[in-house]
Symmetry: D2
Subunit: 148 residues, 4 copies
């Protein structure tokens, strides 16, 4: 099963993130996130609602920090540097909302040659594909994986 | 499902590692390793043979570096520092054979308060529990998790 | 002595980076970089030409990877995740040219509350201060440090 | 100037660590530590008392976490994984006292081929050189560097 990372933040983006997670699970993708709240929790919740599998890559040192929708908890202990592992662990990356931490993940993902899709409304970054809807974001991510 | 990390190296320890992986899967534990060869591959192979689930936490930047028995590939890109994530991601840690890298993982695991069991013949480190057989190693690991 | 990180890449930006390094040294700042080539080497070269001190935070495992203008070599072994250490080790950060790796560093720097200045022409990122000249970039960086 | 890492912990080992730091500075070595207290602070204090230079590689995100005898502060933000950077940044490593974190650093240092010397009384680890006095520890460390 291909792994797709869903990154971002912002409570106002949770509904979109949940839809992205659900669609990825329906396409038999494992959803990788940073294991925390907001967009990360919503994407994982959506994936689980559709019977999918979720991985959470945590910044801290405790399994208990993961949100309740994480199946497999990776405890890195490396703080914000876990953003590299989140970005790298996706064959493609979908960004929903987000701020500076999300920007670091997009930078890493593109540095490693991963397909990145920003869901509207999202960060303004030149040279990154953009999608109008969760469905389009998932299609672009899967097309990017297939193209490799 | 509790996660147990199996760490170590050495081709001569593969049979023991495979047995540890098999027994962990039979006890409904997810097997976490560094995703590479020898002990890591053998423990994962044993877990899959028993119908279990495996996570591989890789040092490099490519999903393709994982051995064939890894279900979920975490690509960290942080080199030997991924040893911290391997140690931290197990609720308990079982060491099979091993050398300097294994020592770093045991140090991290104990620093974080994880239960660690060294399977004989193994590294000589004071203050770490030791087991004579794979079955005993798994029992001690699960007892350590239950005791928390 | 305050530490200022100079980040970025691109051979066409070396002259600007060298001027930034020189000006920082003249203002008694230690110059922190990722220790590699192009912008990193030029900023360090400029600092040394003005009698300054330089720190290089390398991604690899060998001291020999540092450019010749690094006084103090930090060997991290954590690959691109060393971008976090570069960004965090500056009380302020000046970006000269750059691409995806630079974006990850700016994301981290802002996530940690560091002052960031992009020297023109530079990455297009909303919400980051911009300077027209090396002298202005250094002034903005020092003003940001003083304001904390 | 060669860089030598001094690692370890334990208030009862501070006098020995200070002597190690002093001797290293007298031999024109830069002293690298994790930047914290006890052995790390004492080694740095000893180096500064002899006019030497010190680097502190911190686990956290704030420059202010460094002890007062650190000249150059590297802020990694990667928690215990900074132990890899400490070990790797020394051309040789001297261990004074210490516990599980120190064990992780020795494992990494040996994994990377660095010379390691344990000062008595120290961790019981097979295959690592041991020294009876701070002077002997420094001699062995410098001999290891020269032999490379």
């Amino acid at each position: 099963m291909p792994q797709v990372a869903v990154i971002g933040s912002g409570a106002e983006h949770e509904a979109a993130a949940e839809e992205v997670g659900r669609l990825l699970a329906e396409r038999d993708c494992t959803v990788v996130t940073g294991g925390g709240g907001e967009v990360m929790a919503a994407a994982s919740r959506g994936a689980k609602a559709a019977g999918g599998t979720t991985i959470g890559i945590l910044p801290g040192e405790d399994h208990g920090d993961a949100n309740p929708w994480i199946d497999h908890v990776v405890v890195t202990g490396i703080g914000h540097a876990r953003n590299l592992a989140v970005a790298a662990s996706g064959a493609a990356v979908i960004a929903v909302g987000g701020s500076w931490g999300t920007m670091s993940e997009i930078g890493f993902a593109r540095r490693l040659g991963r397909t990145v899709v920003i869901l509207e409304p999202g960060l303004q970054l030149a040279g990154v594909a953009r999608a109008e809807t969760p469905a389009e974001a998932v299609e672009l991510a899967l097309a990017g994986i297939a193209g490799h």
